[in-house]
């Protein structure tokens, strides 16, 4: 393989897509992931050799691509994926970070983790089985975590004779269900991961499908939108004060823009104090800029010397969130020890960690059928539930629907530091979106 300088220039200017895959080994997820990596030439010779050797020693005749991602000894010994594995691959159009989440063990916790940073989730179903309980659970997690794009990969089309009606029925059932949960964009693609149909290369067996392959879709799905339309949020991470001869009076607020865009000259409010000032400069890692946006790491300087420290939030003066000490949220419980009503915890929100107490757990949610179970008293590992938390100090909290970054938080055990639960402020699911038009020629729309 030779690489031209144009290809290299392309490589340095690509965007980054973070996505998650959900499904079990039975659905062919490892085969799909293996094929994406393999067909995009991201699996290198020594990795493939190692996988082939390990597969042989286990008595398998074909290389088991799951061994590429199952990095821990216990995983290889038990033949299961225990933990989220991150994989990296690139095409000339885009760089990808894939959070590969296991299908069985600690399922919810791992998918929630993988989906929390994902802009796209691939949900796999077996064309022979269609939408099953697990598929609905995957759709619910993607909806709950507000993953902007969901791909339904209907796999094993080769085993249903590449029949369009089979695909169309599954795609319609899933799209209707996910739309009701508020998933804004759903793309259904008929594939055979094993045979390679519509994964990287278009299938010769499904002339009736006019949409993109999985990889084409991953390469072209929008990774950003008009950030000037969002609520701008800047959690202060660190105050930079050199106090050197060269910079005696420099005072900059360092952080990563969590949402929206900020401009020099813009009036801002600092929370929780409520003081106001104006942005005089934005330093974007060594370059002075007039505008910066999420997720850039910058240093913001203000006109007035007001008391600002780590944990404060800078927001546009006319668009600051209300502060609150009463948090109503959906949480996914991720620890082995339970979370109970009355428990004292730490709540970590953006760059601020405060003491808090769990006032109520009004309900637990079953993801399979979205049924509510009132007053469970406590949540255990992999439970999803509604919680009411009272914090010791006010938080500048958005709803998770408005901002994934400033609407999310962790609950932490103050005794041993364990991360107990992942929280999303506000309502669990978005209002239902109108179901997308049935699969048309393009197969997808924005």
């Amino acid at each position: 393989m030779s690489t031209t300088s144009e290809q290299l220039a392309d490589l340095s200017a690509t965007t980054l897509l973070r996505f998650a895959t959900a499904g079990s080994v039975d659905d062919g997820k490892s085969t799909l992931v293996g094929r994406l990596l393999h067909d995009s030439k991201s699996v290198l010779a020594d990795q493939l050799e190692a996988v082939e050797a390990a597969s042989l020693s286990r008595g398998q005749d074909a290389p088991d691509l799951a061994l590429l991602t199952d990095g821990l000894r216990a995983e290889r010994e038990q033949g299961i994926t225990i933990d989220v594995a991150y994989r990296y691959f690139a095409t000339p159009r885009r760089r990808f970070i894939l959070a590969d989440t296991p299908g069985h063990v600690q399922y919810t916790r791992n998918m929630v983790t993988g989906a929390s940073t994902a802009e796209l989730a691939v949900v796999l179903v077996d064309a022979r089985n269609g939408v099953v309980e697990q598929t609905r659970r995957h759709a619910a997690v993607a909806a709950l975590l507000r993953v902007p794009h969901v791909v339904l990969a209907v796999n094993k089309m080769d085993l249903v004779d590449y029949a369009e009606p089979v695909f169309a029925a599954i795609a319609e059932e899933f799209t209707t269900y996910a739309s009701e949960l508020g998933v804004p964009e759903i793309t259904a693609i008929p594939i055979s991961a094993l045979a390679g149909d519509n994964v990287v290369e278009p299938s010769a067996n499904m002339d009736w499908y006019g949409g993109p392959t999985v990889l084409e879709h991953l390469e072209t799905v929008p990774v950003s939108h008009d950030l000037t339309a969002c609520h701008a949020r800047f959690p202060v991470q660190y105050v930079i004060r050199p106090q050197t001869a060269e910079h005696p009076d420099y005072r900059g607020y360092a952080g990563q823009i969590a949402a929206g865009a900020f401009r020099v000259g813009e009036p801002v409010t600092v929370l929780p104090s409520g003081r106001t000032s104006t942005i005089t400069a934005i330093d974007a890692l060594g370059e002075s800029v007039d505008i910066a946006w999420a997720p850039q790491s910058v240093t913001i300087r203000l006109a007035d010397d007001i008391d600002i420290s780590r944990g404060d939030l800078i927001a546009p003066a006319g668009d600051a969130p209300a502060t609150t000490q009463d948090v109503v949220a959906t949480v996914c419980h991720v620890a082995d020890q339970p979370l109970a009503v009355g428990q004292r915890v730490l709540l970590k929100h953006t760059t601020r960690t405060v003491k808090a107490i769990v006032k109520d757990i009004p309900s637990r949610l079953t993801l399979d059928d979205l049924s509510q179970h009132p007053a469970p008293g406590q949540l255990v590992a992999n439970d999803i539930g509604r919680v009411v938390v009272r914090t010791a100090e006010p938080l500048a909290l958005d709803t998770y629907a408005d901002s994934r970054r400033t609407g999310s938080f962790l609950l932490i055990d103050p005794a041993d530091g364990t991360t107990l639960a992942a929280g999303m402020a506000g309502d669990a699911f978005a209002a239902a979106t109108a179901p997308a038009a049935p699969q048309d020629d393009e197969g997808w729309d924005f």
Binding site: S2, L44, P222, Q256, P295, T419, A422
Partner: protein
């Protein structure tokens, strides 16, 4: 430098960041989180390209103030002179404070024993752990990347270590959104990997974009080497070559920098950054597969070393 990736205007808004900007922003965020939440952080600095990129990111994260961390080098004693010279010059240039934990000292004191194969990489764990305890470092930045090795692919950005520096993959905290939980008990510390999501190619592209200087051994040069286990090793006092291993002069470069006894060179004529990037983009071997004897020991070699407290 912020570059807006405008490769596909049909799908990406003007606000889409290039992948290098995304990765840089994420790493800077991680550095600042640690500066905000820990008392005594330290950056592991070997003079290898990943640690050089880490230091570059730390300098950018806190400018115009100095980096609020010191550096720690675990010195195996089997160093490339060019790398030590680079290390010392860098420390001087940025007015940094460098701690050195010396494997040779431990061997001289009889605390550690030289291995029969002369490899000192596995011997680094004890000096590293004791330096962390002696200086009471509570956060230790490492340049490890998840694309390097499959056990690393499972490690968190904030990776809790017990008082023996041990990693327990089963007890890792789920890491959600960009919310890193660095709480730890006294005596424990957190290993922090700001380059977790970078690949080898990203590192090189970033080095090129930022104009970062590297030790010369990363570029093609003539060197006296001999072959062992299919790798080109540099002849030196550390114990190579054996009588049966003929030395020859070859045009080579290093893809990684580590202990001389187990870090192999690759045949290469890449004398510039662009040539190196082209070579890596076309390479069919991972950098550890091509150059690290210590990872070839077993399928779980890295996991075992990490459990024991390795980087």
């Amino acid at each position: 430098m912020t570059t807006v990736a405008n490769v596909h205007e049909d799908t990406d808004s003007p606000f889409a960041l290039s992948h290098l900007d995304s990765l840089e922003s994420e790493a800077v965020h991680i550095f600042r989180e640690v500066a905000g939440e820990f008392e005594r952080p330290v950056v592991l600095f070997s003079g290898g390209k990943d640690s050089i990129v880490m230091l570059h990111l730390a300098l950018k994260a806190f400018a115009p103030a100095p980096v609020p961390f010191s550096l720690l080098h675990v010195d195996t004693g089997h160093n490339f002179p060019e790398v030590i010279e680079y290390r010392d010059r860098t420390v001087e240039k940025y007015g940094l404070r460098l701690h050195v934990a010396s494997v040779q000292d431990y061997i001289d004191r009889g605390v550690l024993k030289e291995r029969p194969d002369g490899t000192r990489n596995p011997l680094q764990t004890v000096p590293l752990t004791e330096a962390i305890q002696e200086h009471r470092f509570d956060a230790v930045f490492g340049g490890g990347r998840r694309d390097e090795e499959k056990a690393r692919a499972k490690e968190r950005v904030f990776s809790l270590r017990d008082e023996f520096s041990q990693w327990d993959p089963r007890r890792q905290r789920p890491e959600l959104w960009q919310l890193y939980n660095g709480r730890h008990a006294p005596g424990e510390h957190v290993r922090v990997f700001p380059l977790s999501n970078w690949t080898e190619l990203d590192v090189w592209q970033y080095i090129e974009r930022e104009g970062i200087e590297l030790p010369q051994i990363y570029f093609a040069h003539e060197r006296e080497v001999f072959s062992r286990n299919g790798m080109w090793l540099t002849a030196g006092e550390w114990g190579g070559p054996k009588d049966t291993e003929p030395v020859e002069k070859r045009l080579i470069r290093y893809r990684t920098v580590g202990d001389m006894s187990c870090t192999g060179a690759v045949d290469s004529d890449a004398t510039t950054l662009q040539a190196v990037i082209a070579e890596i983009a076309a390479s069919r071997l991972t950098e550890r597969g091509a150059t690290r004897a210590d990872d070839k020991l077993s399928e779980a070699a890295m996991e075992d070393r990490k459990r024991e407290g390795y980087f």
